[in-house]
Symmetry: C2
Amino acid sequence: MQVFKVGHTMSGLVAGVALSGIFSGNALAADAVQAKEAVNKPMMADLIKASKPGDWRPLDLQNTLYLDLPQGRVVIELAPNFAPNHVNNIKALVRENYFDGLVILRSQDNYVVQWGDPTEKKEIKTAKKALAEEFTVNYAASLPFTRLPDADGYASQVGHANGMPAGRDPKTGRAWLAHCYGMVGAGRDTASDSGGGTELYVVTGHAPRQLDRNVTLVGRVMQGMELLSSLPRGTGALGFYEKPEQQVPIKSIRIAADVPAADRTNLEVIRTDTPTFTAIVEAQRNRGGDWYKYAAGYIELCNVPIVVRAQK
Amino acid sequence: MQVFKVGHTMSGLVAGVALSGIFSGNALAADAVQAKEAVNKPMMADLIKASKPGDWRPLDLQNTLYLDLPQGRVVIELAPNFAPNHVNNIKALVRENYFDGLVILRSQDNYVVQWGDPTEKKEIKTAKKALAEEFTVNYAASLPFTRLPDADGYASQVGHANGMPAGRDPKTGRAWLAHCYGMVGAGRDTASDSGGGTELYVVTGHAPRQLDRNVTLVGRVMQGMELLSSLPRGTGALGFYEKPEQQVPIKSIRIAADVPAADRTNLEVIRTDTPTFTAIVEAQRNRGGDWYKYAAGYIELCNVPIVVRAQK
C-alpha cells in the first residue's frame, strides 16, 4: 500500500504527522525550490520518545470535562485563564447535571458539532443562562505564552498558552484562543452577551479562524475527537439534525475531579513552554526523514501538534 | 438555540459560513481591536443570489469522477492542467474498472481518507502502476490564476486556478495545487515516482499544507464530501482499518462523460476568475451582517469557499 510513510501519530488531534528522503533527482528536481537539507534530523516521534517526565503535565482535574456519549468518552480541558466566567458557569451547569440527557443536535461538515437543549426548556438552577463575552483577555504578566516565530494572517502574534493555541496583540495587550481543530466554544446568538456555555460547539473542520474574537472559546478536546468528527452530518440548515432520532444523546458530562479515581481517564499533555515542544514544532516545520522531498520552512498555528497521551 | 446565526451554506465544502451586528458596546468593547465598519455590506449568500449564469461553469464531464459508495455518490473534478499524466492514468484505471470492488481502507482523524487495493494484487491492464511525480507545473502563460491578496506562509503566492486552490512561485515559474479540505491526491511510497493514482486520498481535516509539493494532487471533491469525512476513523496505525469488514466497499468509479445522462449528477461551480468570486472572497474576509463583531481583514487560502450547486 502507498501510505504516506508515517513515523508516528500520538493522538487524533495530531494534525498531519511525523513523515519523512533525499531528493531523488529526476525530471523535476531542478524545479524544487527548497531541497531538503536535513534528512537525518530528529522527527516528532523521536523527540517524544526522548522526552522527559517534566516535558508533560497531567490534565487539570478541576478543569477537565468528561463528555460521555454512547460511542465513548470525549475528554475536554477547559481554559480558565482565557474564559474564567464561562469556565465557572460551565462547571456549575455540569454540577447541576444540566447537560445530562441533552443531545448533540448539529454536525455541519468542515465546521462544527454542537450540543445543547433542543427544547430550550430545561431548567437552569444555579448557573447562568448567559454571560458577558470573554472574546479576549488582558495578558500582561499573567498568561504564559510561547510565541511561534511563524507569521499568521489572523493575529499579529500566535503561539501556545498552557497547551492551547492562541493569538495576541501587543498593541492592545489582549490575547485570545484560536479556532483550531478540536477547540471548544460557547455558542451565542447575535448579541455578544447571549452565550454562556449552555450550548457548546467543537471545531471539526479546517480552522474557522474568522470566528476568533467573535465567540468565547473555553477549552480543547484532548481525547475522543474522532467520536465527534465522525458523526453523520445533519441535513438541515447549518448541519442541524432534522429528526430527533438523529440527535446523539449525552449520557453525562462530569468534572474529572468529581469522578471516582477508578473511572477517570488519566491523560497528560505536552508542555508548550519547554525546549522539547519547540523542537517538536521545528520537526514539523522542516520535516526530517526520507519521505518529505520539500521542507515547508513554515508551520501554521493550527498544524502544530499538541500531543496528548495516557499518563505515565 | 444558540446557533452562530448563519446566512447560508451552499455545500458541505463551504468552510465556515456567511454569518453576520453593530458592536454592542459593553465591558469589552474598548478592547475590540478592529470594530466592524460595514454591517450592511453584502454577504456571500446575497452575492450568490445576485450571481449571473456566466459566474458559473458546469463541471467538465470528461474530467469528473463519480465515486459510488453504499452511502451515496462522491463527485470529484480532476485537474488535468496540474497533473496531466496522473489524470490520464486515473481515467485509464477507471475505464478498465480497476477501482470497482476495491475499498476505502483508511480514515485518519483530522487528516485523510484513502482508498485502494488492500491485497495489492489486482491486475492493472492498460494503465500504469506508477508515474513520475507531478508535484508542480510550469505556469507561464498557460494556467489561469486569480491571485489572493492575502499572505500565505506556505507559498509566495496563493490563489485559484479553474476552481482549485493553488500556490505558485514567480521565482521558479512553478505552480501547484494546495492541500485544502476536500482535495484529492495520489498516495505514494518514499520514492517520488512511486505514486500514479492507484491509491487516492482525500483531505478530511485541517489543511496539511506541509504536503504541498510533496505529493501529486489530482483534483477536488465537489459534492459528497460528508460521506467521506464522517466515516469511522480507523484504529490501526495511520488510521488504517484493522479488520476487512470495517473497510468501505467501492461500488464503482466512473467518468461522468461515460455515464448515461440520466444517471449523471449535474453540478456547476463558481468561476474563480470573475468579479463575483472576488466579491465573495471579500465578503468572507470582512464579514457583513450583524453577527460578526470583529472583522478578520484576512482570509486564509483554505477558508475561501469554492461554491458548488446543482446545475441550473
